[in-house]
């Protein structure tokens, strides 16, 4: 999956790693209502895959808003199991205060 605007820090990007052995998606930048438009193709490609366990590595993700959370929920609904890795404390708390810890499990970092 192509990287999108990685040079522009405020943009979001999604990158697929180890796609053949199971899916690990790396998310970076700021995933909000404005940046999500540019991610639409990557999201659609992900959702077209077979439902297998999915891990999302958020090491490089700095911010997420409710629209970004909605994307995570779509991914969680599509794939068998989803796991959030390396989310920063801000993002972890967003997931917690939304009562989404069971839907978007915060895995071991």
């Amino acid at each position: 999956m192509a990287e999108v605007d990685e040079d522009e820090q405020s943009r979001a990007w999604l990158e697929c790693r180890d796609c053949d052995t199971g899916i690990v998606v790396r998310a970076g930048g700021e995933m909000d209502v404005a940046s999500l438009e540019s991610l639409q193709r990557e999201i659609d490609e992900l959702l077209a895959r077979d439902p297998v366990p999915l891990a999302i590595d958020m090491t490089d993700l700095r911010f997420i808003d409710s629209s970004g959370i909605a994307v995570l929920i779509r991914l969680a609904n599509h794939f068998d199991a989803i796991e959030i890795r390396n989310a920063n404390p801000m993002i972890r708390r967003v997931i917690q205060v939304l009562g989404l810890e069971t839907r978007l499990p915060l895995g071991p970092d």
């Binding site: 909605a70 929920i73 801000m90 939304l98 009562g99």
Partner: protein, 515 residues
């Protein structure tokens, strides 16, 4: 305006260029004048240098004649040599006295001076001095120029007189290769270029066009040399320079004019666009705010409670948001409040919000408890269809019994302010509406008298780059120990917590027990 500016630039450029052209041409003309005057002066100097030679020769001859008492043989030797070399056409020796002048000896042709009878007049002015006396014999077919010298000795009475023939038609040729080949000139006897006094000229006289003129001492008289250049002395480039300056200058002026025009047009266009965008933005924002307020309910009167709400559009508030609040009186002494937030923005979020609000109202009016309302309403929103979810906090208030029952689907619990303390209600938070099949659970507890409940949406507490707990704590601290009227409290909270940085819409709903 842009046109006026660029025209001004063109005009300014042209004026500048004309000025430069004028300066260049003045410099050129000045140069040419200076060169012409210089050359004419040099020609004059060459001509007048002959005077010294003639003077010394004639003086020498006169002195010899005096010394030898007009010995004809020594005079002849002198005069014959000059006649032979054709430097003079006539040489004669004269005895000059107060009573007149008499020719003593003569070599060569008859002097025109004598034949025209001007001798006595001329010799009356000749004195023993170092001076050379010049006479122009310019009328008639064979014009001549006469010179006389008398030794500067009071005792001498002899003068030597010689005549040179002027060229036929007084026309002389100057070799074009000579240093003066670029000049036309005319030589006049006297201080002024008078036609009758013309000695010789290289061209037809008077010389027209641009001329330089110098007058120089010539014996006891003067000669005047008038010169004109046959071509540009300062060189071809100098001639062309003013025109080059003018052409290049005009081109530059027109080019800068068009650049200014282009830039000004672009700027005017951009400004127009910016104004239009600003207007559209404000219009859009206005529409969004109007629509939002239309979608939000008027709050009911609840006996025994103060109820107030505030809604603030975020800085990105050109679209309707999905935030809402609602208060429903279910029966006397009981009411249900709701604060919710649909993810995303725009008309879709707003319609989802309106649908949810009305669905919740309907379930509440049916008499369902708050947890059941959340469970039922969760089925009305299908996330997989429109990829939206909603966070909702819903609470039931028993006014008289000071009882509060609250349930949340992904939403912040309300803040409870009582006396000196302010604390968020503790309770289980289920996933948001639309996300899952949670089992909403409500918490129920008794609140102290005069307690204030503040429910809100994330716009009030969220800042980008800040952990959410910081925003919640900011709100908590701002409300602690407050005794303000509810309306004032909400105004202060809104202005204190949403100043500037708020990107998102913010809703605050306040409920206060009057007892």
């Amino acid at each position: 305006m842009p046109r006026a500016l660029s025209l001004t630039v063109v005009a300014g450029g042209l004026v500048l260029m004309f000025a430069l052209t004028w300066v260049a041409s003045v410099v050129y003309r000045h140069d040419n004048d200076r060169l012409l005057t210089q050359q004419v002066r040099q020609v004059g100097l060459t001509l007048t240098s002959d005077v010294a030679v003639i003077q010394s020769e004639l003086s020498d001859a006169a002195e010899v004649a005096n010394a030898t008492n007009a010995n004809p043989s020594s005079f002849d030797r002198f005069s014959n040599a000059h006649i032979a070399s054709k430097s003079f056409v006539s040489v004669s020796l004269w005895r000059v006295s107060a009573s007149g002048a008499t020719e003593v000896a003569h070599t060569g042709s008859t002097s025109r001076l004598e034949s025209t009878g001007e001798a006595s007049t001329f010799f009356a002015g000749v004195r023993p001095s170092a001076q050379l006396y010049v006479v122009g014999l310019l009328s008639g077919a064979n014009p001549r120029l006469g010179f006389a010298a008398m030794p500067a000795d009071e005792t001498s009475s002899l003068a030597v007189y010689a005549e040179v023939a002027l060229p036929a038609g007084r026309k002389v040729q100057v070799a074009s290769a000579s240093p003066y080949g670029d000049l036309n000139f005319a030589l006049y006897l006297g201080a002024k270029p008078e036609a009758t006094q013309l000695l010789e000229a290289t061209t037809a006289t008077p010389i027209g066009g641009h001329t330089a003129s110098v007058s120089m001492p010539f014996g006891n008289s003067q000669i005047t040399l008038v010169g004109a250049a046959t071509r540009d002395l300062a060189g071809g480039l100098s001639t062309a320079l003013p025109w080059i300056v003018l052409a290049v200058g005009c081109a530059i002026a027109l080019a800068s004019g068009s650049i200014v025009e282009y830039v000004a047009r672009r700027r005017a266009y951009a400004e127009g666009l910016a104004e239009e965008n600003e207007r559209l933005y404000l219009q859009q924002r206005d529409i969004a705010a109007t629509l939002q307020h239309a979608l939000l309910p008027a709050l009911p009167v609840v006996d025994g409670m103060d109820v107030a709400a505030r809604y603030a559009a975020g800085v990105s508030g050109i679209e309707v948001g999905g935030d809402w609040y609602d208060v429903v009186v279910t029966r006397p002494g009981r009411c249900v409040f709701v604060v919710g937030d649909v993810s995303g923005r725009g008309l879709h979020a707003a319609t989802t919000m309106a649908a949810l609000r009305h669905a919740i109202r309907a379930y509440v009016m049916q008499g369902d408890d708050v947890a059941t309302v959340l469970a039922k309403v969760g089925a009305t929103l299908t996330f997989d269809d429109d990829h939206r979810f909603a966070t909702v906090v819903i609470g039931e208030i028993d006014v008289a019994n000071h009882r509060l029952t609250v349930a949340s689907a992904g939403h912040f619990m309300p803040l409870l302010i009582a006396g000196e303390s302010a604390a968020f209600v503790e309770g289980h938070i289920e996933p948001p509406i639309g996300v899952g099949v949670g089992e909403p659970r409500a918490v129920s507890f008794e609140v102290p008298p005069n307690a204030t409940l503040v429910a809100f949406t994330d716009g009030l507490v969220e800042r980008r780059g800040e952990i959410i707990d910081t925003g919640l704590e900011r709100l908590r601290v701002a409300t602690a120990n407050t005794h303000q009227p509810l309306e004032d409290l909400l105004d202060d909270l809104m202005s204190a917590l949403t100043t500037g940085a708020g990107e998102d819409d913010a809703v605050i709903l306040g409920l206060r027990w009057q007892k």
